[in-house]
Amino acid sequence: MFTHTHVNDNHATADEIIRCEKLTKRYTDGDILAVDRLDLSVYHGEIFGLLGPNGAGKTTTVGMLTTLVIPTGGKAIVAGIDVVAQPALVKQMIGVVSQTNNLDRSLTVWENLYYHGRFFGMNAREARTAADESLVRFRLAERGKADVMAISGGMAKRLMVARALLHNPSVLFLDEPTAGLDPQARIALWEILEKLHAEGQTILLTTHYMEEADALCDRLAIMDHGHILAMDTPKNLKQSVAADTIVTVSASGDLDALARLLQEQVEGATRSQRLDTTIQLHVKGVTGVLPKVVAVAEQGGYHITDLSVAEPTLETVFINLTGKELRD
């Protein structure tokens, strides 16, 4: 069991560490409803992901939970503290890694950690020790004296994670942690997050990479236009598609008619959907489906230009929910 001893007066269950109730943000500038009555719970020790395209409201949600965005409605409780009522207190409990490199350019790599420790109440000796240990832990020890502008993007991100963790936060927030990183740096960061997860660190991250959400997260909320469309484990979300094979078809001619034709005539087809230039056909419980698709299409007078099969992914789930692809 977890080491929670307090009874929470904010109606959160004991190991619930983030709770949003009808959390809403409407920007008066342009009258944009960025987040619309969001209900969300994140539990102690889990990696929770907000998955969705740009503009879905993920960053605004994280902003509200980290005191930088003021909600226009609803409630957010983090570590038992009302974010709107006591922002300064919440800040003791959270670590935040923002999307952009916001390292202090006037300070060195080591100093970024040291002063962060001081902000959070460490004395000089404690902060020095914590900064030293953190540099080793995040494989930055050789660059301690470097200017933060002189280190690579991957290192800068690691330093931001190191800094956010220096004061032992209850929740670590990461906004698009691997956006703009090269594949190697991305994998290195995933390993760090998995290690933190194994140590029991609660993490909330946002991403628009479905592979990242799939690989890292215990639970996911799929977001679009300020709403949560689905929330579950990646496995359950993929199973909700009710298909074991996804066929993607590119062809000439009337794609809408072809989509209908394929669903009617291909054995085991559970759903077909026309996207921009392709058709997605969901098939369940049938092997050797490709020849059947080709046969049906050619009998109907269509010329297939490309064809591929895959297992359902979170992308499929997203398409199912929104009718559009995640990556535009």
């Binding site: 977890f2 080491t3 929670h4 001893t5 307090h6 920007y27 020790g45 902003g63 980290t66 005191t67 930088l68 965005v69 003021i70 570590a79 038992g80 503290i81 006591q86 922002p87 300064a88 207190l89 800040k91 003791q92 409990m93 959270i94 935040v96 923002s98 952009t100 490199n101 916001n102 390292l103 202090d104 350019r105 006037s106 300070l107 100093e111 970024n112 002063y115 962060h116 001081r118 902000f119 959070f120 109440g121 914590a130 240990e133 953190s134 080793v136 832990r137 800094r163 963790l165 220096l166 032992n168 936060p169 209850s170 290690k195 933190l196 140590e199 029991g200 660190q201």
Partner: protein, 290 residues
């Protein structure tokens, strides 16, 4: 891998009261700013000295040496009188510049594309204290600037030109902190209201008028000679300029020359402090929170 944050020792509740955490964080923010100042001490001193040095060098050394009359054309006596005017003006101006350079310029950058300020905004204290910390750090730089500039302004002048100063310590000791806070609050206002790409315009349209119409080169009392239809319009107009109260204050503190009454200078400086600090903190909120 050393384990710093194991689940067992990870905080489940805030370890400090909001007041204690704020106090500690506020001190650490100042420490950070002073560290940055120490790292850039050479540049700080150079940029503090350059303008007063040039002003004093040209007006109090070059002009008298080449016989270019200044100070009412009454020869060395006029030049000596002007020297006293200029010394008080230069000290005031330096504090003013320091406020803008120490607060407005770094803030404009930190708010800009880099959002560097974010980690400090996320420190466990109210956002308003982060802004006030910036002002305080800027004010400390203003104090240091005053200490550096004063001897320069006093020492550099041509032979025959005498700088007669008559220091009123009570005024000096109260004015330097007051004006330092006022000018770094102005820096906070400018830094939070002006976007980084417009920072060049700030110098042209705000800093230059403040400098030239701020009583650096002339006592405010003498402006009464400039009239339209019997109305001393320039003397009235410059009253909106906060620098005029700074330079007049230093004139009162450092010379025996006529100056704006102290019962005007002090209340107006305090009022400017409050107004600019309030505007600055509001601007800061608007920039870091949405």
């Amino acid at each position: 891998m050393a384990t710093i944050a194991s689940p067992a020792n990870r905080t489940a509740r805030p370890t400090r009261s909001p007041g204690a955490a704020s106090r500690i964080a506020f001190g650490a923010l100042l420490l950070r700013d002073l560290t940055v100042l120490r790292k850039n001490l050479g540049i700080f001193v150079a940029r503090t000295i350059i303008q007063p040095f040039l002003l004093v060098f040209v007006f109090l050394y070059v002009f008298p040496e080449i016989g270019q009359g200044i100070g009412g054309g009454s020869g060395l006596a006029g030049e000596s009188a002007f020297a006293a005017v200029l010394v008080s003006g230069v000290v005031g101006l330096s504090i003013m510049f320091q406020g803008i350079q120490a607060v407005a310029l770094p803030l404009a950058n930190e708010f800009g594309y880099t959002k560097e300020i974010e980690d400090r905004v996320l420190a466990p204290l109210p956002v308003s204290l982060v802004a006030i910390g910036k002002v305080l750090a800027g004010a400390i730089q203003g104090l240091i600037a005053a200490a550096i500039v004063f001897p320069i302004a006093y020492a550099i002048h041509a032979r025959g030109v005498e700088v007669h100063l008559d220091v009123h310590w009570v005024l000096l000791i109260t004015l330097i902190p007051l004006t330092s806070i006022m000018t770094s609050s102005l820096g906070l206002v400018l830094g939070t209201r002006i976007s980084p790409r417009n920072i060049g315009m700030m110098f042209g349209f705000i800093v230059l008028p403040i400098t030239f119409l701020g009583g650096t080169y002339y006592p405010w009392t003498t402006l009464s000679a400039i009239k339209v239809g019997g109305f001393p319009w320039l003397q009235a107009l410059v009253c909106i300029n906060p620098l005029i109260y700074v330079t007049e204050g230093f004139r009162a503190a450092l010379t025996t020359q006529s100056h704006m009454p102290l019962y005007v200078i002090y209340p107006v400086l305090v009022a400017f402090c409050i107004l600019l600090l309030w505007l600055g903190v509001r601007g800061f909120y608007r920039r870091v929170l949405s």
